[in-house]
Symmetry: C2
Subunit: 157 residues, 2 copies
Amino acid sequence: MEIVLLCVGKTDRSGWTIAFEEYQKRIQHYVKYSLEVVKPEKSSTKIPISQVKLQEENRLLSRIKTDDTVILLDEKGASFTSTAFAHFMQKQMNKGAKRLVFVVGGAFGFSPTFLSKFPLHVSLSNLTFSHQMVRLFFSEQVYRAFTILNNHPYHNT
Amino acid sequence: MEIVLLCVGKTDRSGWTIAFEEYQKRIQHYVKYSLEVVKPEKSSTKIPISQVKLQEENRLLSRIKTDDTVILLDEKGASFTSTAFAHFMQKQMNKGAKRLVFVVGGAFGFSPTFLSKFPLHVSLSNLTFSHQMVRLFFSEQVYRAFTILNNHPYHNT
């Protein structure tokens, strides 16, 4: 079992990387956890957004294996408490996929085609946040989920 | 006008502080923004949670001025999109308070008394997250709010 956070975006800078690696290290007490980043497509007023999305989604697809369980992080997805998210993760892991791949789209989100190809959608918040933030925020939730599933005292409430 | 993030918690470590200060610097193009931290109360199975909350809330109260506009960050509060949060901030600022004070409680949240004393409650997510994360996450939202209110291109979607 392995968890992958697959993102469209740039490589992070120092402060963020340190904090991300802190969670990665903690998660890896429980499960292999890695970050994969694909390049964002350059956008301009001359290029249709649908084309930007298509390019980015082709890059994402090239990293997804046929036997992965894929979950899109999308603002219109299901929203969970941390405990409910832990149980959602457990349910997905129980399906027996080798990899659970959570996907973060580019600046313009996912196309309708991509959204329907991968019907599991999770929303972290109604708020929009930066690509650096989503990596950190999501990683803390994955760590928190494993502490909940293992009765580790990290999650107090 | 000044915005204060008032938290029960510990002082942060390096990676987090760097990222927080990055947002603080950006926000200060628009408004004075500072972090104030009060000590958490030690908790144990022998001390009732209500007493822990009371001690922490007394520390928070000692930092709040009578003419502040106080907003509690609470998971049961109103949830916003980033654009709606920007307009909420604008509305609060329009009331003319010198300081807008956003408050993050301790590990056990706020007491019913404190919640009713300050009736403005905002939820950042249904998910629970660490005290380091909430500072960073909130700061990015404040920065994002000012870019939205000032038509700065940071907020794409």
